[in-house]
Amino acid sequence: MEEKDITSLPDEQQEYFINMGPQHPSTHGVLRLLVSLKGEMVKNIEPHVGYIHSGIEKMCESITYPQIIHLTDRMDYISAHINNEAVCLNVEKALEVEIPDRIKVIRTIMSELTRIQSHQLWWACFGMDLGGLTCFFYGLRDREKILDIFEETCGGRMIVSYNCPGGLMYDIHPNFQKRVKDFIKYFRKILPEYDQLLTGNVIFHERSKGIGRLTKEDAISFGVTGPTGRASGFSCDVRKHEPYSAYDRVQFKEILLTEGDTFSRYVARIEEMWESMNIIEQLIDNIPEGPFAVKMKPIIKLPEGEYYQRVETARGELGVFVISDGNKNPYRVKFRSPNFSNLSVLNHIAKGFKIADLVAIGGSLDLIIPDIDR
């Protein structure tokens, strides 16, 4: 067969397609990117999602509110606890239930632990995507310690299902405070090692600085939230803007950067881990006494109306929108998931870069696919 030199063809015929995914190590799940390339240059990206669409919103219409909580675990399974909290807060708001301080404080500590372990996993995978396999071992080693704390208190490691409407499923384990304090002490020493390994690395700088720049205007227009949005200077931290649980009684900084490139998205997450540790330290010694759950009616029915609750997951703003017609199951539930909006910006920021940069950009968005497909 005669070999054809592609560079001798006219410009528009030099483009070709490759499928990145649905099984590809750097898409971190079942995501398929149809990438249009010219040479190594990315011309266009078309995300194809839905491989693990499970119809959670439809399922919610036929089950009760306490049951919905267990489905939200399966959406963004890395920050499962925060997803649970969103549904619980929405139900409690609708029923105007007063939540005791003990529950609020424990929920906040657990949320921040969830955020740290999520960023640890992200750091581990991001390092691996860019060729630093050591990161993966470091990250997972430290994440294991948080999962052990979860296991002791909740029984589950990732899919915790620790919240229920009106409080928590069970009280914290007697060892909880000590283990969390030990972990913080340990991780404060370890986190600078993360910096030594990756943050100051010249090769890493070359791969990430100036790559995939997202402006603040575009971040707002695309609805990009979380560390990704804040790296572009979009102040979108729900913990600051609309404090829930115990976030109104702790001091912490909202990490805002201006560059908006892959490197600043990286820095935003590293800084958030420090802030999360600060939050936990302020609360862990002051868990108030009291019940761990408020008594709720056995069958929870929300009054007729519409309820919207937003929380800050590790990846951005999660909104739970419930339309109730007064029955024990909701009329319509919509999850505004952060990853869905964050994925939509991928084509916009990765266009014009090399295909290897696409891996870096995709990694820095920290996509969790079940949260997109729902």
């Binding site: 669409h53 119809g55 707002i220 227009s221 609805g223 929108f321 319509r332 869905f340 909006s341 939509s344």
Partner: protein, 151 residues
């Protein structure tokens, strides 16, 4: 602006609006024909600057199909909920807001996929999650004997 001031302001932008101060957010019901124009004004007017569309929900109300837009201004931090509905279940058609808020591109594709509401002037209206052999699962009259178990 607080809720009532915002309500007054929105009232001055278009006719035939139904404005309700909900428990949480200000809710504005608008006719489908007026939707695009009102959305654009809310985005562009100095006083409102709703630049962040943080949720777009399609709803099947039984007789009608509707879309709910949650808008926030990142400048003033105020929120409004726009609602519109159409009674045409066979061929529901609404104006796309994807050129005002780019996040609407994906969200409208999702609504089209799951509820079958079409959006005029959408840049790329295709199904998102499912292929064409499916109906529109989030509609209340959707029947699937294999996958949905009813008691």
């Amino acid at each position: 602006m607080d809720k009532s001031q915002l309500g007054e302001f929105i009232k001055s932008l278009a006719n035939d609006l139904e404005i309700k101060e909900g428990k949480q957010y200000l809710e504005v019901t608008v006719l489908p024909s007026m939707l695009y124009q009102l959305a654009r004004q809310l985005r562009e007017k100095e006083e409102s600057q709703f630049d962040f569309l943080f949720c777009l929900t399609g709803v099947d109300y039984g007789a009608d199909l509707g879309v709910i837009y949650h808008l926030r201004s990142t400048v003033f931090d105020h929120v409004v909920v726009l609602k519109t509905r159409t009674s045409d279940r066979e061929n529901p058609l609404l104006d796309s807001v994807a050129d005002i808020w780019r996040t609407a591109d994906f969200h409208e594709r999702e609504v089209y996929d799951l509820l079958g509401i079409k959006f005029k002037n959408h840049p790329d209206l295709r199904r998102l999650f499912l292929d064409n052999s499916w109906g529109f699962p989030l509609r209340k009259d959707y029947v699937d004997e294999i996958n949905i178990v009813t008691k």
